[in-house]
Each structure stands twice: as C-alpha cells, then as structure tokens.
Amino acid sequence: MRKFMVYLVMAALLLCSLSVPALAEEKAEGWNNVNAEGYVFPDYTGETLSIMWWGSNTRAEMTEKVIHLWEEHTGAKVEFEWYDGGTYWTQFQAKMAAGTLTDVFQMGNNWLTYYNTIEPLNEYIDEGIIDTTAIGPAMIATTVNQANGDVTGMSNGTNARCFAYNPAIFDKAGVEYPTATWTWEDFAEAGRAIFAETGKPAITTLEYNSLAYSVFTQWKEGYNFYSMDGTAFAFDGDTEPLAYLFDLLTTLQQEGVIADYGIQNEIGSNIEADWIAYGDSAMIMLSSNQFQALSKVAAENGITLELATIPRVSEDGQSGMVVRSSQQMSMWNGSEKKEMAANFINYFINSVEANKILNCERGVSINSDVLAALKENADEVTGKVYTIIDLIGSFADAANTSPAEPAANEEISDVLKKTYFQGLAEGKFESAEEAAELFWAEAQEIWAKFEN
C-alpha cells in the first residue's frame, strides 16, 4: 500500500513538472489584440455576462450596438441595463447591498467610494487578456489607485472640463474670443460686455466644485484640492483661493452676468437643454465629451460652438486643468465570470470596430490605434474635442493625472455649492472670506466622518 502511495506521489510530481513549462510559456505580447488580422474571439456560447452603465439615450444606442457585435463574435449573451447619471448610483448601491452587481459596470472617478466592489485588473493586464500594447502608461495611470497601484478599471476615454462659447455673440458684443491663457479678469470682462449687449445671462452653467478645485491648483504651484492619492487635502488650509472665486462668481451672478442657481439647476446635467444651444447665452462650462451632444442641438438652431480652456488666475500661472479619465469599465470582484468580463472590457476599450460606433462619446479613446483610426475621418465637431484635449494635455501642470475622489468628496462638493456658494448669494455670510473659512472648517468635519 505504502509503495503504491509513493508511486502515486511520484506520478503526480512528474505530471506537475511536465505542466510547469506549459504554464510558464509566455504568450506573445499582444496575443489578445482584437484588431489583429485573423483574431479569433473566445467562444462563450451559452454563457451570459451582465453589464450596467449610465448615460444618455444616444450612449445607450451606441453601446447596445457594440454589445450585439460582441455577442455575434463570441456567442455569449449579454444582459445589460442602463440608467441616467442620478439613478445609476442608487441602483448600484442597492445591487451592492444585495450582492447582485453586474459582472462589468461603468464606474466614475468616485471609484474610491466603491473600492471594495472592484476587482483590480492588474493580473488581467499582465496576462494580456486586457491588451495594453496600444495604451500608454500615462493613460492606464488615469484609473490607477496611486496608494497601492491597483488598476481599478479601464478608462472609457479621457476628457477635460473646459468651456464652450458662441463666437457669434462674442462678435456682437465686440469682445475678443477666449485664448488658451485667458484669465478670470478676461472672463468677467467678456461676461459683463455680453450681458450689457444682450440683457440675458452670459454664462448659464458652471461646475462650482470643480472650478474651485481648479482655482486651488492655479493659485500656487504644488496646491491641489485633494492629494493625488485622495487621502488628504493638499492646499495647506489656505482659504484665499476659495474666497477669490466666491467673490468673483457671486458678484457676477448678482449683476446678472451669470445665471441664477434656479436656471442652472433647471439645466442640470441635461446639457442639451442649455441656453447656449438656443443662442440665449454665450458661455458654459462642460466636460469635453458632452460637446458632441451639445453641438448637435446647437446646429439645429444654426449655432456653431467652440471650445476654450478654463480661465486662469494669472496669464503665466498654472492652468488648473487636467486631462482625466471620463469614466471607466470596472469588473465586479464578486463576478463568477472574470475572464469573460476581462475579454469584454478588452473588446470594448480596444476594438477599432466597436469604437467607431462609440465615437468617443464617453471620452477620447486611450488606445492610440483606435484614436488614429477615428481621427482619420473625424467630423468637425469631434475634431474640436481632439484639439482641446491635445491643447490641455500640453500644459505642464496637466501632466498630473486626476486625483482619486475621496469618499467624502460627494458631500464636500455638494456642501460647497449649496451651503457656501448659494448661501453667499443669499447674503448668509458677511464676506467671501468668512464663507471660505467656514467651508474649510466644515470640509474637515466631513472628512473626519469618513475617517472612522
């Protein structure tokens, strides 16, 4: 009996030693490149994969087409669901609590909040299942947790917050167009001149929290609202930049140059409803990937829009702008089909065929092959998006990837806007300085709630 056991162990060892070289055999780099000629898709006949995302109708139509293509290629069945940006997170949390998240989900820069649901993709990238041969390290870095190197997802594309403007109204008011280094003073001057000319608010949408974060970066080299790893504030408790912005924007709003909060809230995230698309305002702030949808509506009203940078504190100072991941495809760590999910992400991010359909609506593709193919026959509007992203990417301080949004950010940014910006407009604070100091105190209190 004992002898038999020895044989058995030896046989097992032999088998192991035989299979080691097979395991260790390196697959050729780029073996899972879906754009390669003669690429054979894995066969997932009879299997299902689930996916969820947020976005507009347009996005849903495009995404469904891509999903059907992948289903045809692999024989898999994909169950998908999508919501608007607000509902998405409620649904996400309900599924998270019930342990029924989808295998693949769209994730924002708030991934730190949902970190314990996310499967790091490092292993899949190392094995080459998610092919990164055409994706630069800087692009992968946009979705990396700087604290530990985890790849939290693959970016669906990059975007940057910037301004859109209507040159026709600038001409009418006799104001110069924004330049790449225009300042907040130029911004105020242009706004006032346009308001005097049209009698309507010149600016209808501003993202208050991200503007504030930008001004911190512009204020002094080394300042940032949050540190890059999202574990601390990074502006030495200096409330001066915020007071500067509070004062500037509140004054302009009280003069009527910037639309009141009611109008801004009415427009909300529905960019297609913005006054600028109907010729009733001259400037708005937006994310570059929203420009296509906005331009489509504007074109119907005979309006051509252009893109500009965010104004700076001083012409030769920092830009405060950043090219960041717009959103990403992440994998649920509770998924039972991780390899299949990785293959889907690989196709979604890297396939030229798929991205021709998706057309950078989620952001400018991070895959250089895809981008080259898309740029080749880009329409005029999409061309403007590529140009502004290239411009912002060329600013020295924009080389930083976007900081991770700490879990406290949702509350801090909401309070910044509703309690302080809106409270200052209502005269609830003595001065912009007081509002800035009180905000800083409350921001730290909120931060502390998330520490324990």
Binding site: M96, Y261, N265, E411, T419, E426
Partner: protein, 303 residues
C-alpha cells in the same frame, strides 16, 4: 385505536375549518409581505439609526451619537422648517380646493361622473416624475408663467432661483392632486340630510350661513380624515422636490425625505439617514396625535 384515529382526523379537520385558521390563511399573503417589506426593514432601520453604517460594510454601534449630531445639524433643522412650511401652506390649500370642487360637483348632472373622473386624473399621475418634469417646464425660467410675470415688470424673476418663491410651484403641484380628497368630500356631502338645508332655507339662512352652520360641522369628521391623510403624504413629499429643484436653491426646498435620501445614498451616511427618518416619524406621529387630541373640540358627530 380506530376511535383515536378518527378523533385526530376530526381535530385536523376542525383545525382546518376553524374560522381563525381560514382567516389567517387568507391574510397570509399580507402578513408575509407586511413582515418582510415593512416590519423587518423598519426594525433594521431602527437598529442602523444607532450605528455608523455604509451600504456594503457592516454597521458599527455608536449609541445615540447620530441623534446627538442631528440636534446640531443646521441642514436637518432647516429641512424640518421648510417641510413644515410646505405642509402648513400646502395641505389647507389642497383641502379647500378639494372641498370647493366637490361642492360644485354635487349637483346631479349627466356630466358629473365625467368631471369627477377628469378631476381625479391628476391624483393618479401627479406623483410621477413625468408630471414633475412638466411642472418644471411650466414654472421654469423659460416657461409661460415666468414669462407672464416678467412681462408684468418683474425683470429677471424666476421661481426656482429664489429662496422665497421656489416652494410655491411645488405646493401648487401638490394642491393640484386634490382628486382623492375630493371624492371623499363628495361622498361626505351626500350624507348630509337634505332637510337641514330645507329647514334653514325656510328660516332665511343665506348660502354662506348654510355652509358654515350646516355643511362644515356635518363634514368635520371627513375633514379630520382628509387632513390626517394629506398631512402624512405632505410630510413625505419627495419626487417633485428632487426632480424640479433638487432641494435648492440654498436648501429652500430641501424637504426631510429628500435630505434623508441624500444623506443615505449620496453621502453614504445610511445610519445617520435612518436616525433622521425616525425623527421624522416621531414628528409626524406627534403632530397627528395632537390633531386627534384636539379633534373632539372641532369635529361634530351626529347622534
């Protein structure tokens, strides 16, 4: 042996045919769903209200810490105030509206049924997001109503941009859904004996006198019922504020339910949100209790 068997069969049979058994059996679907969907979540939320809890992690006990923080929370205090404003202005407005239309529709005409149905429609669809969106357009900065007001000379006026006026469209949207109160009032009006009116007419009472001396007192139990129901739904108002104003500007329409939702789902303080809902429950119970207590002074029951 056989006797005991028969007896036991008999007892099983009588158990099955027992009125209580049958009653519970028929009520079982309700009891189950009530327990699973109402009782258990309520018990859980009571537990969470004493914890720090984020969805996806395990709750940690903090005692009355949440309630202690609530006492110092200016945003929550403000949300109670604006909710009270909404309820105090909105509920009477809705009831007056409902009573007025119900009285107009008591005259038996052929079109009565049609009109009642038409006025009931807003109650069926009123709570929906679609109606809130319509309301947003109607009262919005580019809508016809603001256009009219601006045309009258109020340059730059905008309901949703004003902390003073933002609540008004929301209250009106609620008052517009008077259908169910109207139907209850209508059936109440039918119960008032005709001879009261005939007698008062002979005595020379005018229409106002008849309304205040006969209709209102006879209707008071119905008014009590409608008041309580509308108060409760008023306190729970959510959809319109979320869709139309998002609680703004500067928290002017940040009603309790909306505040709870934000704390729980946006800010990730689920325990704190649960504590807020329990405070809201106690507040509602207190006010309802107060109304019941005082109702004996102002409701009139015949016989």
């Amino acid at each position: 042996m056989q006797a005991t068997k028969r007896k036991s069969v008999c007892s099983v049979g009588s158990f099955l045919n027992n009125d209580n058994t049958v009653g519970y059996l028929f009520a079982l679907p309700f009891i189950l769903s009530f327990t699973l969907l109402t009782l258990v979540p309520m018990a859980l939320s009571l537990y969470y209200s004493f914890c720090t809890y984020t969805i996806g992690s395990s709750p940690s006990w903090v005692g009355i810490g949440n309630f202690f923080s609530l006492a110092h929370d200016a945003t929550f205090g403000n949300s109670i105030l604006v909710t009270l404003q909404y309820v105090v202005i909105g509920v009477p407005l809705k009831l007056v509206f409902a009573l007025l239309i119900a009285m107009l529709l008591t005259k038996p005409t052929r079109a009565q049924g049609f009109y009642r149905a038409v006025y009931y429609i807003p109650s069926l669809i009123g709570g929906s997001v679609a109606v809130a969106l319509v309301w947003k357009q109607l009262f919005g900065s580019r809508g016809p109503i603001v256009g009219l007001i601006q045309g009258l000379g109020a340059q730059g006026f905008n309901f949703f941009g004003s902390t003073t006026w933002a609540f008004l469209p929301l209250v009106l949207c609620n008052a517009w859904q008077f259908g169910s109160s109207m139907l209850i009032f209508a059936s109440g009006l039918k119960q008032i004996p005709k001879d009261y009116y005939e007698a008062s007419e002979i005595d020379g009472a005018n229409i106002f006198r008849r309304f205040f001396s006969i209709t209102l007192p006879c209707l008071s139990p119905i008014i009590l019922f409608n008041l309580i129901m509308q108060l409760i739904s008023g306190f729970m108002t959510f959809t319109q504020a979320q869709v139309i104003t998002d609680g703004g500007p500067n928290y002017a329409t940040n009603y309790i339910a909306l505040n709870i939702f934000k704390e729980g789902f946006s800010y990730q303080h689920m325990g704190y949100a649960c504590a807020q809902s329990w405070v809201m429950l106690l507040l509602m119970a207190g006010i309802t209790g107060l109304i019941f207590k005082t109702s004996s002074h102002w409701t009139y029951y015949e016989n």
